[in-house]
Subunit: 433 residues, 2 copies
């Protein structure tokens, strides 16, 4: 007989409760599950990965400032003390509204009473030829590892070629939003550290980081003052900023701009935007919001549905003042939490309430002691103060004390340029050069 306190028995005891299936273990999915922990429902949270990824620090993994494990946390462990929450490792193939069933890639069918779609978004390539093949997006931990391996391999390769003459490298970051700005800054730091600390035989003036954007300023969601501060700081760090540039083709070692100019590239980082179009959420509704997002009612139910909810980056939530709420971590957390509360209300026979986004501000870091924050009531904060605010908030929101400790150690090493730091090329497949 099984132990009466075992997970097997515990879970079986809950079979009579309504079943809520949450698809996706990002900020929104985790917040939704937390809102249902230890309540009178049975919850299954499904994700392709067995861990939650802290996306705001992804660019630091890509630029070898942090380790993958520093920003990832096992989903099972988050809910270790909530016996009504169960994690299922797998990819979702389809949602069958009629039969109220989630179908997994391996064919398993999971019945639900309510389903929360928290599947996030993916990189938007806007149909630019070659972009999805050759440019490197930055939206998953696997993306970050791939980009890091690519950057470090390019530097190793350049060092080997330096034996025969000077080598020029051009790293291009496409997109001047927070991800593009943060990646360009961190990449520029990585190059300086590897030349100074790791003895790479490269001339720093011949290794360029170019940040290109469609518009005429960086960080479009921030006030003008923050944009010019970011541009000034990046330029000071050696990043070349090119505005008004539209990329129309990406190749293995080049890209082409709309004006016909061709640029030889070492690697292209794609931080140009997000889309939901190709994901499960993109199939939920006949119409779609900006970036392919699923239109939802004020209570976050998918338009036209009684038991399908959409939260986080996947959902197009109409904002009070017109337009839609932005795809940000605080928005994902708040909407996930709201969705959970509404499901409990529906199950209790109560009326649902409208979601209301509480603006927590936005921030982006540029480099050592340089960051920019726009706080809801305090205006724009830049420089060391902005950077300290950025550090503190990111440490605070990171899941798990162990990860916080490890991130602090890695940040300390990077800040002082101490030797080491996780500049490792670790691939699954062993390649012979």
């Amino acid at each position: 007989m099984a132990d009466p306190a075992s997970p097997v028995t515990n879970f079986a005891r809950l079979y009579h409760l309504p079943h809520v299936v949450i698809i996706g273990g990002g900020f929104a999915g985790i917040a939704a599950a937390r809102g249902l922990a230890n309540r009178r429902v049975r919850v299954t949270i499904i994700d392709r990965h067995n861990f939650h990824t802290f996306l705001p620090l992804l660019y630091q993994v890509a630029t070898a400032g942090l380790e993958p494990a520093d920003i990832a946390y096992p989903i099972r462990t988050i809910f270790g003390h909530a016996p009504n929450i169960h994690f299922r490792h797998g990819a979702v193939r389809a949602l069958d509204h009629e039969r109220r069933i989630v179908v997994l890639a391996d064919g398993t069918e999971i019945e639900y009473n309510h389903v929360v779609v928290a599947t996030g978004a993916t990189a938007a390539f806007f149909g630019v030829p070659g972009a999805s093949t050759h440019a490197l997006p930055l939206y998953t931990l696997a993306d970050a590892r791939r980009l890091r391996n690519r950057l470090l391999l390019a530097l190793e390769d350049a060092d080997a070629r330096a034996e025969f003459g000077p080598v020029a490298l051009t790293f291009v970051v496409v997109g001047g939003g927070p991800t593009g700005v943060e990646t360009a800054g961190a990449l520029s730091e990585l190059i300086k550290i590897t030349i100074r600390r790791d003895g790479l035989r490269l001339d720093p003036t011949m290794v360029r980081v170019v940040l290109v954007d469609l518009s005429t300023r960086l960080l479009a969601a921030f006030p003008e003052r923050a944009s010019s501060y970011a541009a000034r700081e990046l330029t000071r760090m050696g990043v070349k900023i090119q505005f008004d540039r539209s990329v129309v083709e990406v190749g293995a070692n080049h890209l082409v701009f709309a004006d016909g100019e061709r640029l030889e590239t070492t690697a292209v980082v794609w931080a140009a935007g997000l889309t939901v179009a190709d994901t499960l959420a993109g199939t939920l509704s006949a119409t779609s919001g900006p970036g392919g997002r699923v239109p939802v009612e004020a209570d976050l139910r998918v338009v036209g549905s009684a038991d399908v909810w959409a939260v986080g980056d996947a959902a197009a939530v109409a904002a009070r003042g017109g337009g839609y709420y932005p795809q940000l971590a605080p928005m994902a957390i708040q909407s996930g939490r709201h969705g959970a509360r509404q499901i409990l209300r529906v199950l209790d026979g109560q009326a649902t309430t409208a979601f209301r986004y509480r603006n927590k501000g936005i921030m982006a870091t540029i480099g050592r002691r340089a960051a920019v924050a726009k706080l809801p009531h305090a205006g724009v904060v830049t420089g060391t103060l902005g950077w300290l605010a950025w550090l503190g908030l990111h440490l605070f929101y990171l899941v798990g004390f162990r990860n916080r400790l490890r991130v602090m150690i890695n940040w300390t090493w990077r800040y002082f340029d101490w030797p080491s730091g996780p500049r490792l090329i670790v691939a699954d497949a062993e390649t012979a050069e």
Copy 2:
């Protein structure tokens, strides 16, 4: 003009010096390079990986107690302050004795005055059908990541199947040497933690770890007392030990013993031994020592060669009392150091000296507060004292303060069974399901 203090200029300044090429950045190669740092030679150290791996803790990465980055250290960083040592990332295809050239996989030819072969060994499958395809060896960081992903995926899969009825799992470790004993113990701990902490719906009595060995005792290199202690401790932890068992076939989900018995398996860890036969070192000599190792003279020169040296696991060094010295970390470090000293002597026109291995003892850990150490003059130490000695020595020998700090954090978490720990399934390729 290039900066006169830049790595480019520094390295060019050394071109007139004799060139020593070291193949391999393991214990032996790093020790050899350290012995040549800041001396009147130019050194190129070549490795397929840009990092040195601390192999004694590999099994902890495989069983999700440590992160890959905790036991890996960038080779460039180790020699950041030695301008005469240069790292070359690449795989070696061949050694051309006549032309004194090392040929890389990409075709690059590197001339040498002396070459040190420190290429280590690989898993020996002894021609057992299916073993190289289905069994999981543990000799590189990639091996450890692959094994970890396989173990964690097997547990996830079992949890999903537990919905429909009880699930039995059988993990088999082949080989009762230190790697096999340490892996079996750590695997048994991992299973307990995931069931207790991560809420896996598995009955612990149905998840078996089986350790099989050809002989009639574990840890054959240790005294009898240590062997029986290890067997007792492992048994207490729930590991099933089977002696006198020879594996003759390994399949995707089974293995077959010499007596015809078939065992259904979830995963097979291969810790049965090492060989040098298929590596570059295996091609250096017409004859070979035990495990395909290259026979060397007393001064560590490859037999019949004036400028090719072999050190570490790749070399068969005749022991004073007959037989050969063992393939252990202290042996690799001492032989690498000795090889470097001899090269300097030869370049100085001095006679070489014979290598002499100083026995530092051997140790293996079994689990929490259970380890066994055989020290040269103190006999066998077991239990908590052995375990503390093991912890201290491994921390001491780990490269880099940052890695020591991170390992200590991870060990603390594991010791107290605190939540989290790096139980992440991170693969390069995104797989659906």
